[in-house]
């Protein structure tokens, strides 16, 4: 017989936990849900747009009755649970309905704080919490004129804005002198006040309400300073309090909220709790973002897997008043130990403040232009050292080089037919439709369902904004990012374990780190294969089945299932004999297309898989080897003709490029790796958009790193200057090795350097002479193992060659 799970509280946190639970253990429980409201689960944070008339109740329903039916969930709406018999494991509702439980989930949410002034119980005095409150406000707007909102916080301002839109004369009464002081500093608070005043809101700041006056219905307010204000409707938005009434009554330990541990378990081990009613490590969250993480962890424990801990959330805020862009996160007030970087442009209505401590972002406030909010928030959570990008910090991520969606920063203003994801052709309307119809909340879900931001990722910021403007204040909040769904461990933790525990095979890693899946997935297996090879080049054995097809077939798969073959041409230099061999191969195997690549090589496109070994054999015979145009490895070393021919050339860039390529070819790296050598600062080899670029100058060589010519065009940064070719070789090997040893799989050098800082690369490769030599030596050791031509191997070894041909041909 199935165990019984009862959920008290049919809101976002509780139902989200059920959804997560059904994903991983669909048949474990008979589930019963009690909700005090007469509705299915809806998106409470979108009540403000409903009040403003921008959305309807139907738009914000998250789980319809059909969802409960499909999942065999018994739903009791309109029934408030008033008691729990913990001994008999039974909940009792006000109408006498009871339900037995093996596990109980309390998600009772929070209540608006009603200030206990005389008259607070009069008719026309409400909070702003649920659909009933919205209906009450909409009714009032039809029949009355004057409204007062007590509380100039997020919720109060959204309520006031909605009431103004519905034609009421609204005054916001605020205790302090800054609106939204939990989210704004005084400057941005003033900007916000000014724009809300333009929309017709009135404010009475520094005002403490002492009494609500009137008869049965409220007619006005009096203040501590003696002033008075008329009001037909008073909305109390002075904060929320965790709703712990039920838990407290039945003796479950509560302080400000229901106290839970890192597995969301209360002091009664059969009872779990999530959402705004919870107090975790002393904090009760009043925003929706932490719920997702709580729900995921809680569901995992309810399912009996016992994996995952909730370690708290850092939250960020966005105000849902259409046309006002505002973002804040972390500690944006700062103190004597912090510093501020501020940008003000009052004419454009833009204000940004970033608070730094020890070169790390600890808080940010933005007004008017919030496109970089997600970026700052990411760096805040990752504790990124920003000293290297400090001079660009206020200009945003686009300023660091972004060719994708640079200027686009207002998702809400985009028309539905605007293409957001250029890779997969996904329009804004499609994304919004998927979010609302399928109830998506996280970026990962939107990527999975719509494919937007799922390829190159350059539109991620825009998709996040669309998500935020559609479902409201959202942010995925895990403190660390697991490698993939197969594990809880981050890339760094996995790499560290491989080094420290001497793990030399994928199964060894999966056992040691308790992988959830028997043999991983298409995302973690290639990463693990790379990690063990790079950490233990002499001990680990390559696992071809954990490589993407291109690296398994040593050629690039094309859209029709054929392959492209690129022979290596050292430094981009070729000979008539090599060109003849390429031409002969193209003729002999009817290769339909021959093209010169961006990296100065010749690409043979449209080769059938079973022809690959024969094509390679012919190219090998002419002295050519694999060009690795398919690999997460050194691609090419691009060169210009240099001092040998060019009248401007300062050094022999061509032969230096060839030397570098002979040293670095066939090395595996976290992502593709491109090198170029230019013979003078005119830089014809485009060395300053490569992972490692050498620009020859009269006095020697400038070494540049971290460039990228792809999705985000990023120019290199100068690592250092050296004076001999030998030094170039050593620095080149050392830089490549530190990247190989420390970057995450599929992380190019540009984002890696953005993450760790150029100073770190300098410290490892330039300042530490012994360290550099050791890195370079490790690179060469690894090359002794890996520098083999995979084409020749396949040609010479029958068992490899066989895999290229069909096992059987029928008909």
């Amino acid at each position: 017989m199935k165990e019984k799970l009862v959920l008290v509280g049919n809101g976002m946190a509780g139902v989200r936990t059920l959804e997560e639970l059904l994903k991983i253990a669909p048949d474990k429980y008979d589930i019963t849900v009690f909700g005090a409201e007469p509705h299915c689960n809806y998106n409470r944070i979108m009540l403000s747009p409903v009040l403003a008339g921008e959305k309807t109740i139907d738009d914000i329903v998250l789980n319809s009755q059909a969802w409960y039916d499909e999942n065999n969930i018994t739903l009791h709406t309109g029934k408030t649970v008033v008691d729990i018999d913990r001994k008999a494991q039974k909940v009792i509702a006000a109408d006498g309905t009871t339900a037995r439980y093996d596990r109980l989930l309390l998600a009772t949410g929070s209540n608006p704080f009603i200030i206990p002034v005389p008259g607070h119980d009069k008719e026309g005095v409400i909070g702003f919490r649920d659909i009933y409150d919205v209906d009450t406000m909409l009714d009032a707007a039809k029949n009355y004129k004057k409204a007062v909102v007590i509380g100039g916080g997020l919720l109060g301002l959204e309520a006031a804005n909605g009431l103004v839109i519905n034609g009421m004369d609204v005054t916001v009464v605020h205790l302090g002198d800054t609106l939204m002081e939990m989210q704004m500093d005084s400057f941005s608070g003033e900007m916000l006040k000014a724009s809300l005043e333009e929309r017709g809101l009135k404010f009475r700041m520094n005002s403490s309400t002492t009494e609500l006056t009137g008869g049965q219905r409220v007619t006005g307010l009096t203040f501590a300073d003696g002033g008075e204000l008329e009001a037909d409707l008073v909305v109390m938005a002075a904060g929320i309090r965790p709703n712990i009434e039920l838990a407290q009554k039945v003796g479950i330990h509560c302080e400000r909220g229901i106290v839970v541990n890192d597995t969301l378990q209360t002091f009664d081990p059969k009872v779990y709790s999530v959402g705004e009613c919870v107090q975790h490590r002393g904090i009760a969250y009043g925003l929706v973002a932490p719920l997702f993480e709580q729900a995921r962890v809680c569901a995992n424990h309810l399912a009996g897997y016992g994996i995952g801990m909730y370690e708290g959330s850092t939250t960020s805020t966005k105000l849902k008043v259409t046309g006002i862009d505002l973002f804040s996160a972390g500690d944006f007030h700062g103190d004597e130990s912090t510093e501020e970087v501020v940008m003000k442009d009052a004419a454009r209505g833009i204000y940004k403040k970033v608070v730094l401590k020890d070169n790390k972002i600890i808080g940010a406030v933005m007004y008017g232009d919030t496109v970089d909010g997600a970026w700052y928030f990411q760096m805040l959570r990752d504790e990124t050292n920003i000293s290297d990008i400090r001079e660009h910090l206020m200009f945003g991520q686009a300023h660091l080089g972004d060719s994708g969606h640079g200027g686009e920063n207002a998702a809400s203003a985009l028309p539905d037919d605007a293409e957001v994801c250029g890779c997969n052709g996904v329009c804004k309307g499609t994304i919004v439709k998927a979010i609302t119809e399928k109830g998506l909340f996280t970026l990962e879900e939107v990527k999975a369902h719509t494919k937007a931001a799922a390829s190159c990722g350059s539109c991620t910021g825009l998709v996040e904004q669309i998500l935020a403007s559609t479902v409201g204040d959202y942010s995925d909040t895990p403190k660390k990012k697991p490698m993939c769904g197969c594990t809880e461990h981050s890339h760094d933790e996995v790499r560290e374990a491989i080094r420290e525990q001497e793990l030399t095979s994928i199964p060894a890693v999966m056992t040691a780190l308790e992988w959830h899946t028997p043999d991983g997935c298409a995302s973690c297996r290639p990463a693990l294969n790379y990690y063990v090879l790079s950490a233990w080049p002499q001990q680990a054995k390559d696992d071809p089945q954990s490589r993407f097809i291109n690296e398994r077939a040593h050629a690039n798969i094309q859209k029709d299932g054929t392959y492209s073959v690129i022979p290596r041409m050292w430094g981009g230099v070729t000979t008539p004999n090599e060109l003849r061999a390429i031409a002969d191969v193209a003729d002999k195997f009817n290769i339909p297309s021959v093209k010169v690549t961006g990296g100065q090589r010749v690409d043979l496109l449209g080769v059938k898989k079973e022809d690959l070994p024969a094509v390679w054999a012919d190219l090998n015979a002419a002295g050519m080897v694999s060009g690795h145009g398919y690999g997460k490895s050194l691609r090419t070393v691009k060169t210009c003709v240099g001092s040998e021919w060019c009248r401007f050339g300062t050094q022999d860039s061509t032969s230096l490029g060839i030397k570098i390529e002979k040293m670095t070819w066939a090395s595996w790296t976290p992502h593709k790796y491109k090198i170029a050598v230019s013979g003078c600062p005119r830089n014809c080899a485009e060395a300053t958009i490569k992972d490692f670029g050498v620009v020859c100058v009269d006095s020697g060589y400038e070494l540049h790193v971290g460039g990228n010519g792809g999705i985000h065009v990023v120019a290199t940064q100068l690592l250092c200057r050296v004076s001999t070719e030998e030094e170039v070789m050593e620095y080149c090997g050392a830089f490549m090795q530190v990247y190989r040893e420390e970057a995450h799989y599929l992380e190019r050098t540009a984002p890696w350097i953005e993450r760790v800082g150029l100073s770190y690369a300098k410290q490892r490769v330039v300042e530490d002479d012994a360290g550099r030599k050791a890195l370079h030596a490790r690179f060469l050791v690894s090359q002794e193992v890996f520098q083999v031509d995979p084409w020749a191997e396949a040609v010479e070894q029958d068992h490899i060659r066989k895999d290229y041909i069909p096992i059987k041909k029928l008909g």
């Binding site: 899946t517 028997p518 398994r552």
Partner: protein, 103 residues
């Protein structure tokens, strides 16, 4: 009525990998999991016809090499949230030899 065709020895298919059987109606991928189970699917991803036999095999699934769709080897069904199905064919192993049945 089943018409079993001998494909080859199980060792000829790499563990966590696949080989192709060429037929007049197009290729069929013969997959071998880490647990040595054998499955046969039409070698065309329902998305954009990618050759599934070239994908990474994990658990009882294969990931298409073109756009990373995941396909259940047992049923040919695409793993949600993507939708679609690749035709699957009966296979059996007798004394280490793999047989395929075509309709």
């Amino acid at each position: 009525m089943s018409n079993w065709i001998e494909v080859g020895k199980i060792e000829e298919i790499p563990k966590q990998g696949a080989r192709v059987v060429e037929t007049a109606e197009g290729d069929i991928g013969i997959f071998r999991t880490g647990e040595d189970e054998i499955f046969a699917l039409r070698d065309r991803c329902p998305h954009k016809s990618g050759p599934l036999s070239q994908g990474i095999v994990h658990g009882k699934r294969v990931t298409c090499p073109l756009h990373n769709w995941n396909i259940e080897l047992e049923s040919g069904e695409v793993v949600a949230p993507d939708e679609g199905c690749a035709a699957s064919f009966p296979v059996k192993i007798e004394a280490g030899v793999v047989f395929l049945s075509l309709p």
